[in-house]
Amino acid sequence: MARALITVPPNAKRGEVIEVRVLIQHPMETGYRPGSDGRILPRDLIRKFSCRYDDGKSNEIVFSAELYAAIAANPLISFHTVATGSGTLTFLWEGDNGFMQSEMAAIKVS
């Protein structure tokens, strides 16, 4: 499993805009580069990222992105959302070769 670094403020005030940062280990191989033997390296990309926020009342996707070949390896994604209630943020990365990884982070809203 790839390693991921999730940065979510552990505590927030209701209605506050919070910044979420996620960094994941992934080669993001474009499918255009030749390897050391001269052959094209097969494409291996993360294609989709999404973040679901379960605040106890609603459980919806607050951010999603589609990733392409021009995104660097070990992509860092940073976005903002409104802290609506205590709960969990679930992050999901999906990619080529059946790559799928899910991580969770808790947030406490007062």
């Binding site: 670094l5 960094l23 280990q25 080669p27 993001m28 660097a72 390896a73 070990n74 860092l76």
Partner: protein, 223 residues
């Protein structure tokens, strides 16, 4: 280094090298086949490894030459863990190295002032000033004579290895000082020193002395 790269390095939530640090942290307490992990001898890395990386390369009494931190890790693997040494630039090795290097962050680089090291230092300085390759350039001609100017868009640094192992944006991954030196050597179209060779150890010893007193910023991000 551009302000953007510096910001990336300073913020642990952005620094991709922290992914390797996390791997290294996990490996630290992962037992080998004989049941021994790094932690079984060295306990808590933040305490026991504090300042260690800042003293390397250090003299190894067995091979009678200075060795790099990654070689020391491999020696431990061989002698204490009965495990096979990892090949140079192995991801696990880089992870271990960056985890150990992180414990010295902000501390002054203090290479071993060992009498036995002086001959290696002298030869390292010679390598540094020796013109090599089809381009007939020495390290000194860029890093002593033209630092701060640009080579292919990137600033030329003064050859202070303060942040290794580094996450290099060009590599899109982690790499050691040896890999970086080999990069420069093939850049001037010379035959690079082999990984973990004596010549490499000599050059690294000299470079560490150049950086003596500077703050460690490993694991660093470089363009």
């Amino acid at each position: 280094m551009s302000p953007a790269t510096q910001a990336m390095q300073k913020d642990d939530t952005q620094n991709p090298a922290m992914l390797w640090v996390k791997d290294g942290e996990a490996l630290w307490s992962k037992p080998a086949a004989n049941g021994k992990s790094c932690a079984s001898c060295h306990n808590d890395a933040p305490k026991s490894m504090k300042g260690i990386a800042a003293t390397y390369p250090a003299f190894d009494t067995q091979s009678r030459r200075p060795i790099h931190l990654s070689e020391r890790i491999n020696l431990c693997r061989k002698n204490k863990q009965d495990a096979s040494p990892l090949p140079p630039e192995h991801q696990d090795l880089l992870s271990m190295e960056s985890y150990v290097a992180l414990q010295s962050r902000g501390m002054s680089i203090a290479p071993h002032r060992d009498k036995r090291m002086s001959e290696f230092f002298t030869r390292g300085e010679k390598h540094y000033k020796q013109r090599i390759g089809q381009l007939d350039l020495s390290c000194a001609q860029c890093h002593d004579d033209n630092p701060g100017k640009r080579l292919a868009g990137t600033p030329i640094p003064q050859a202070h290895p303060t942040g290794y192992p580094i996450y290099r944006l060009e590599w899109q991954g982690m790499g050691s000082l040896q890999r970086r030196i080999r990069n420069c050597m093939s850049g001037v179209r010379a035959e690079p020193f082999a990984f973990n060779s004596t010549e490499m150890a000599e050059l690294e010893t000299y470079l560490a002395s150049r950086a003596a007193g500077m703050a460690m910023d490993a694991p660093a991000v470089r363009p």
